[in-house]
């Protein structure tokens, strides 16, 4: 990735903000791990659209990781006001179904789920906030990087043919996947 492209951060941040927003909204946030991957995909797609550069896997990973961290920040911030809204939504539409499944299996629900069903939200202390932010950022950065690498393969631009390089002779180890 060429350092002369100053637009590196914009697509990553934009994709990250969108992914983080979706990861915090009621209903759609049930696919929590999907959104940072989608953010990484989107970051690479937006970058490819506005530049002529051909990205490599490592470039995609960097873009995706930036998008993932941005998504984590946005998600953590919007969950503060939306926490109770999310809980009410889950209590109305999701928990009854989950409780039925647990009852059918004869197993008690895990303690943290039991607390949420009773409407007990975990206390939001500064320590809890920063710990949650740190862990989410680490997880989303990894997932975003994965999404970015996958996107490089999915949205690969065709490069102009270049002179033959003897090092590019077919190697038996170069097999798909």
């Amino acid at each position: 990735m060429n350092q002369n492209h100053p637009e590196l951060w914009k697509p990553a941040l934009l994709a990250g903000v969108l992914a983080g927003f979706l990861a915090g909204l009621p209903l759609v946030n049930c696919c929590c791990c999907l959104w940072p991957i989608a953010g990484g995909l989107l970051a690479v797609y937006l970058h490819q659209k506005q530049t002529r550069s051909v990205l490599t896997g490592a470039d995609g990973a960097i873009l995706g990781a930036i998008a993932g961290v941005a998504a984590a920040v946005v998600r953590t911030l919007i969950l503060i006001p939306l926490q109770s809204v999310n809980l009410r939504f889950l209590q109305k539409h999701f928990f009854p179904y989950i409780m039925e499944l647990f009852e059918q299996s004869g197993q008690p629900p895990p303690p943290q789920l039991d607390e949420l069903i009773r409407g007990e939200l975990p206390a939001l202390t500064p320590q809890a906030f920063f710990l949650d932010l740190l862990l989410t950022a680490a997880l989303f950065a990894g997932l975003g990087a994965l999404g970015g690498v996958i996107a490089v393969s999915l949205f690969k631009k065709k490069t102009p043919p270049r002179p033959e390089d003897p090092r590019d002779a077919q190697d038996p180890s170069d097999r798909q996947p």
């Binding site: 299996s105 895990p110 393969s153």
Partner: protein, 170 residues
């Protein structure tokens, strides 16, 4: 950078370290998922925190989990399939492609490996069918097995790029 680096060249230490960490991490994940029910069967107080850790990434609905030692595993069959697939992919990666190959899989390969998982998730979500745990495991395994071919290739490219920069500056 050529997708295939000169044959016979050893991968940089960073690529090897990343590979080792990935393999160890995947093995640890699978072990932790299996450890939770064993701890629960022993009445250990460590079982609950372990289940709680995985609750952040999985619904843990017992009917969708494999059961060992009389207790559900820490993640559902699909998540377990993804973790097992990643572990399998990490194991075969150096054997299948070698650590010097930085070419990413073709998009058609990605779509072929992802389609069963996507179809299974959407089919269950919209109520068209209710997949058994084994089918969830299989679709997750297929997708998980492909993922190392992305992140290990990207890590190898990053390591080689760093090595090229280091050698160029000497």
């Amino acid at each position: 950078m050529s997708a295939l680096l000169p044959s016979g060249s050893r991968p940089p230490r960073a690529a090897s370290v990343f590979y080792a960490l990935s393999l160890t991490g995947a093995a640890f994940l699978v072990a932790a998922v299996c450890l939770a029910p064993w701890l629960a069967s022993r009445g250990s107080s460590l079982a609950a925190p372990l289940y709680r850790l995985f609750s952040h990434v999985c619904h843990q609905i017992p009917s969708r989990c494999f059961h060992i030692f009389g207790h559900p595993m820490a993640v559902c069959g699909r998540c377990l399939g993804v973790y097992l697939g990643i572990l399998f992919g990490c194991v075969i990666y150096p054997l299948w492609r070698g650590m010097n190959n930085i070419r990413l899989p073709d998009r058609r390969v990605f779509l072929a490996f992802s389609l069963p998982l996507a179809a299974d998730v959407l089919g269950n979500a919209f109520g068209f069918w209710d997949s058994g745990v084994w089918l969830r495991l299989a679709s997750g395994f297929l997708w998980g097995a492909l993922l190392p071919f992305y992140f290990l290739a990207a890590a190898a490219e990053w390591a080689f790029r760093g090595l090229a920069i280091t050698r160029g500056s000497k």
